[in-house]
Symmetry: C2
Subunit: 550 residues, 2 copies
């Protein structure tokens, strides 16, 4: 960890509880302590929220970026025997062994431990947890569990610093990012990653080809298996939990992209395409795939098989090169699994709504239901600066159909590198997409939060409404804009309608009135109507008597 000690200034990050909640830990077996954010409601009840924010939101925790986070998993990892060379959650799950990570996850998700083990064993879920990243709090990615989101950070040759990237990581998990990918391509790639890993309570992913390309001075043709392999080992040793590998970009698929509107839009995909053509050979990622599996299994690094030929525009969605690559990823999935290496499959990109479901169907069929991990997809190309929204639409739909993790898109997509505000906007948009999908999939615990928030809304418990929301700070500040006074936070109306037009207030009045007059059922209403009809009869059946005069 000398990289951290050498640096003069440690990154400063956002700490302290999120408004209206405090961190507590749920105790389980094996010394497992699962963090949740507890919201105390003004009704006297409380509501516990799934929490990705790590010790940063714990008032009791001491944060020292230079020292890194506590090594939560170190005792578990230390006690484990390799199974035939494998230390992967997949190997243990297949052998019927329940790891502490699985117990942690079962509590976190509110499910049976056996469900966790079984889903991992058949490869329908993955637990990205490199043994060299003991700081991470275990989490699971799979369609039977809550939909997860990934936030991309990382510098480029043009902009950004280590301090900014560490701050973005902490900021992203504060708002709910389940995983973070460090996609740095600029300076100090190794050191940036070291700071991020030692301070991250969530799994960290990378795309090793980026660093490998830096090592060969940016010329794709100079890449080789050896340079790549060394880079992968370096990153495994550091603790990277999952790696994007574009091993499905085969030489013969490259010319098939020539007629696309947007060619190859994946950085890794285009690098490998350039290498294949320059050497007129099959991709070294493909030809050395088994060797790569053997490296990853000794650390328990999860494959994120990259979609180097994903569509970069609506026009290119679900086209032949995209699907040809997906099929190849399916072959590779089965190879990796046979060597006990966990696998996720990356997916598009840009897809119109009516072509989204097909992506999930084919991925499940060809890739043995390996967890699907998609970038959006964007449901239209026409809104640069709003692609967190265009893609939240596609992401919600694809997650509803079974995608297990959604890679966020920020408002800066296609235009520039995201800053802190963009990271938050992307994370919140994707929490919305993920939760909408959990609702649509009828996840047993999903709707409770909607119900609690809506009940608070209807009962004018404004503070509870804010605190149960995805972003209490912004919800409260929007309310403050028109009604900043504290009494307004308990007022039975708001600035939208004012007191006279408040439907919720009128509904309360209606309920009170109905209760008082015994009009609380359809039967009572109908009996009352009959009585009124009698009265009407007695008064001479003046049918056209204006109601107002009655």
């Amino acid at each position: 960890m000398s990289a951290l000690e050498d640096r003069a200034v440690a990154p400063s990050v956002t700490v302290g509880p999120i408004q209206g909640s405090r961190k507590i830990y749920l105790a389980g077996p094996d010394g497992v302590r699962v963090p949740v954010r507890r919201v105390e409601l003004t009704s006297g009840e409380h509501f516990d929220l799934y929490d990705t924010s790590g010790p940063y939101t714990d008032n009791e925790a001491t944060i020292d970026a230079r020292a890194g986070l506590p090594k939560l998993r170190a005792p578990w990892i230390g006690q484990r025997e390799p199974l035939g060379g494998a230390v992967t959650q997949l190997a243990y799950a297949k052998a019927g062994i329940v790891t502490p990570e699985m117990r942690f996850i079962a509590i976190r998700e509110g499910v049976d431990t056996e469900l966790v083990r079984r889903e991992v064993a058949i490869g329908r879920a993955v637990i990205p947890a490199n043994r060299c990243h003991p700081e991470s709090e275990p989490m699971i990615i799979g369609k039977r569990f809550l939909v997860k989101i990934n936030a991309n950070i990382g510098n480029s040759a043009v902009t950004s610093s280590i301090e900014e990237e560490v701050d973005k990581m902490v900021w992203a998990i504060r708002w709910g990012a389940d995983n973070v990918m460090d996609l740095s391509t600029g300076k100090n790639i190794h050191e940036t990653r070291e700071w991020i890993l030692r301070n991250s309570p969530v799994p960290i992913g990378t795309v090793p080809i980026y660093q490998a390309l830096e090592k060969v001075k940016g010329d794709p043709a100079k890449l080789s298996w050896d340079v790549y392999k060394d880079t992968v080992i370096e990153q495994c040793e550091q603790g990277v939990d999952y790696m994007t590998v574009h091993a499905g970009v085969l030489l013969r698929y490259v010319p098939r992209t020539a007629k696309r509107i947007t060619g190859i839009v994946s950085r890794g995909g285009s690098i490998m395409a350039a290498w294949c053509l320059a050497h007129h050979k099959e991709s070294f990622l493909y030809t050395h795939f088994e060797e790569l599996c053997d490296i990853l299994r000794t650390y328990d690094v999860t494959f994120s098989l990259g979609d180097g030929l994903r569509p970069g525009s609506i026009a290119d969605a679900n086209d032949e090169p995209q699907l040809a690559e997906l099929k190849t990823l399916g072959e590779l999935t089965h190879i990796a699994r046979s060597r006990d290496v966990q696998v996720m499959i990356e997916g598009p990109g840009h897809v119109p709504m009516h072509k989204i479901a097909e992506n999930v169907r084919l991925e499940e069929e060809w890739c043995g239901e390996a967890p699907f991990y998609t970038l959006g997809p964007l449901a239209t190309d026409i809104a640069p600066a709003y692609d967190h929204i265009t893609s939240a639409i596609g992401a919600s739909i694809i997650a509803w159909h079974g995608t297990a993790m959604l890679c966020y898109v920020t408002p800066k997509e296609h235009l520039g590198l995201p800053n802190r505000d963009d990271v938050k906007a992307g994370v919140i948009a994707y929490k919305i997409a993920a939760h909408s999908a959990d609702l649509a999939k009828q996840h047993p615990r999903a709707q409770a939060r909607d119900d609690a928030l809506s009940a608070a809304r209807f009962e004018f418990r404004w503070t509870d409404q804010f605190n149960l929301s995805l972003d209490p700070d912004t919800a409260r500040s929007f309310h403050d804009e028109t009604l900043p006074a504290e009494p307004a936070k308990t007022a039975h109306f708001c600035s939208m309608c004012g007191p006279k037009f408040c439907s919720m207030k009128i509904t309360q009045d209606v309920r009170d009135y109905a209760e008082k007059h015994g009009l609380t059922s359809v039967e009572a209403i109908e009996a009352g109507m009959a009585e009124k009809a009698e009265e009407f009869h007695r008064r001479g059946e003046r049918l056209y008597l204006p109601i107002a005069a009655d």
Copy 2:
């Protein structure tokens, strides 16, 4: 128009072309001139965009809010003979008459005039066009046409002024609102509406019960058919194009909402529920519905039959009171149509994704395919301050299934009245939803814009990418944040990846290389592979020779 002359200060509004486009007019028969925004591309081509912004974005137009907009439709309206008392587009369409409004729309939508007439005649589309609002540019709402969006504006007792509301209307149409509803409930309701109508090139909708309630000092029990009728006539005379009427909130449905988490959340619905219970009588909107039809048909005001019992939370979606009311709206639709009055049906609200399609199916079945006009729906309740996003998700899906118009939701929903920024955020989110649905419905003209923008993106025509987008100002400013210099607008990379990692640049290099070496087809690649295999053979079949050493 004395209201406008009396006022000391005329509202100031945003004028001038949207960045990168200029207004032109497409000429048609009957003196029809259809506005479009023309984007001149740096490739030498141009792209015409559907335009809702009115004369405000025309450099040649003189804008004088006090004088109002030119009365575009006055000559057409003046020449028309009533058909049996009706002056509605529905009556003319049924009689086989093609109005100038229909011709205008056919050009605007790029479809046959006969399609327009036929869809209006069967009630599957409406043209909201009060003869007292001659300033409006004709537009159509129906599932066979482009999906439309509505922006709500209007003051409340707590906040806002006439100036702000007129400015918001012009601002909303600048960014693409097809229709605007004035939902004012505060001071100067009549005068505010007058300023809006005289200056609006888009149809204007209202909810007359709001003004009626003001007239009886805010006590729902004091409402009467007479007060309501007078208000409706006043608004018809002013030129309101469509009116929300909550005539489906029947007395017997009211107690059925008692067990909901969020009761009745529609303002109009709760007002009518209060009236029904207080008087223990059926709603006067229901009992006087035919009389109401007769008023609307003499102006060609379109019904927007309100969903007073729409769900206000995920828990209440698709419940019995909601669907009971929808069925009643179906009855009313057939009554209105039989009197040649145009009808749309309002829909929810808050609905999880898996329950959205059912709403469209039932609406179409029960309401004779009258255009569905939905508020979102929000796909989750947990994100106040981001409900433009939660609802854009639901809106995209419901529009894909056939909803013809989407009522926007702004980030301030549930929290406060929208300001200018919120209005724009809501409009853009809904343009995204509407366009995503047009793509998913495979509307013949929808994808051309995506293709043009994506081609510009791939070819590094940054300015064209900005100008073809929904919001050129923001797209450009985001790009400027990291690369403000003008040469960056033609650079073959951006700040995200820098020059070395630019997939688009590498793809171009790959294409150039492949072209030069004749590797532009799978066949060529395979022939090349075979040749390499020969060479490999000659070199002694060293299978495990490291590729890097070759």
